[in-house]
Symmetry: D2
Subunit: 167 residues, 4 copies
């Protein structure tokens, strides 16, 4: 809980960063909202933002996961938050969990885009900021107030909720 160590925030896209395009009526990626979000919530924890990509996680391929893994390994920080689409968050968690040692990594996303009025993005990001500071080394997913280790979590496609594989 040394507040002085910076937290690396790797931005990879996902619902949290989607916005509405008034010309097409579609949801798209523009510029990441993370910088505005962390300013709005007056985040005083030290952090470094790094945009790796802006992708729907359904579009991510294995080379995208390799890229995210590489960024986690090469950065000097030991506390890392990865913003990520929820559909394939578990898959990326698997790659990171199997390959990164000696760091605390928290994957986080949102069910509703930040740009929408009633989004879960701010709450989920708050969870991620506390979790990455409080948890021991390892890879975790935090969504909607719950924290999961990378190897005991799945997304329930029916309910949209993350849940444990086994108790």
């Amino acid at each position: 809980m040394k507040g002085e160590e910076a937290i690396r925030v790797l931005i990879t896209g996902g619902t949290i960063d989607k916005e509405y395009d008034p010309l097409t009526g579609e949801l798209t990626f523009g510029k990441s909202h993370l910088s505005n979000i962390l300013s709005q919530v007056r985040c005083k924890a030290r952090f470094v933002l790094e945009e790796v990509m802006l992708k729907d996680s359904l579009q991510m391929r294995s080379e995208d996961r390799e890229e995210i893994l590489k960024r986690c390994v090469v950065c000097q920080e030991n506390k890392i938050i990865v913003t990520h689409g929820t559909d394939k968050m578990v898959e990326t968690g698997l790659v990171l969990g199997n390959n990164v040692k000696g760091k605390t990594i928290v994957l986080v996303g949102a069910m509703i885009p930040y740009a929408f009025g009633a989004s879960d993005a701010l709450f989920n990001l708050g969870c991620a900021f506390a979790a990455v500071q409080a948890l021991r080394h390892g890879v975790y997913i935090t969504m909607n107030g719950k924290i999961f280790p990378w190897d005991n979590v799945r997304k329930n496609k029916e309910s949209g909720e993350f849940e444990k594989l086994k108790d």
Copy 2:
């Protein structure tokens, strides 16, 4: 990190729950927003809400702190979040830190009311939900992405920020 244990959320008031009275033009307390907030953010962690009081912390007296302490002690949960005004949050933390053993208690508030557009309330509450699950027994304050033990924190009245007393 057993997700099944419920988190007790003790509501005591503070900026987070203030709202605007259009007739007087003043900020007041109506009904607590906590239930709506946790519904909006789709919180899936088990929690129990308990409204202890709705007060500006500048109006709290020692009997109020005794009441909060009592609720922390008598409830069956070991993970407790206390929503609280920021001005005297440290003072209440002191009472809890000196008197509660064997529980994890996180005090949290907001600099901007939830009812305002650009509030830090959701982010701070997210921090509290993760912190109360991830931290060992003890009393903590979490505000704006930082986590402090109860005996090493103060509110800087100039900047409005919470900071460590000593490194």
Copy 3:
């Protein structure tokens, strides 16, 4: 400007009423937001809400326009607001303009869904409420602070803006 006459609000769908489905990641229609909107903005003008349909205007067919026309004709009110998708608002205005006499009808929509944070929906609806009370009989489109008669307006597909056909 007799405030006592009720305003009939015919809901037909469009961007204004779209919401985000967290399970599919698509924009869909749920329940119309109009009732909540007019409550939030403390609308004190008398109005009657009537949901005709909830459709993207690109999906509207000639029988939908006939239905909207029928509702405008049979209702007892002389002041009518029609919420409508922007893509084919001009086409519906044409049907109404050619067939309704002795009433003031204002078509209105939004470029950004109400459920999004930075929507134009409330402003546009405000325009519609004032326009329907202040304008003489006829059919009008009001969008983004401008008012057009039904027979001198088009939607510019490049810019997304409504503009006059001729000065």
Copy 4:
């Protein structure tokens, strides 16, 4: 309804422009939000913003009303919106109504600050933009979907609503 004529927007303060000061917990004036508001709602009507003052209308004195009157008279536009606190809006309307001829002036405000989540500001401003374009010369107050001539309106202090003096 010539869209090309600019609308002069005179900013004088009031609830619409109030914001929350996190250090004092008070509502204050910072920078006017009108420019941001009209950008958010994608206002395409031509307008010119002019900040006359930022005051709670309870603090306005007769010289303030003289100043507002002067600005209405000297500006070249014939369509003028005046943003104003609601408590003394009727008094300013009286001064303008008795002294300005040949222009359409609409006074408008809000019961809830724009910076709050559930504000009536955008809707009311929409009303003002349409009213100032659609109404004949004269001085009007528009609030919460209703339009009043300056000499037949009062604010009901009990309900917070504007109402006619006589039918």
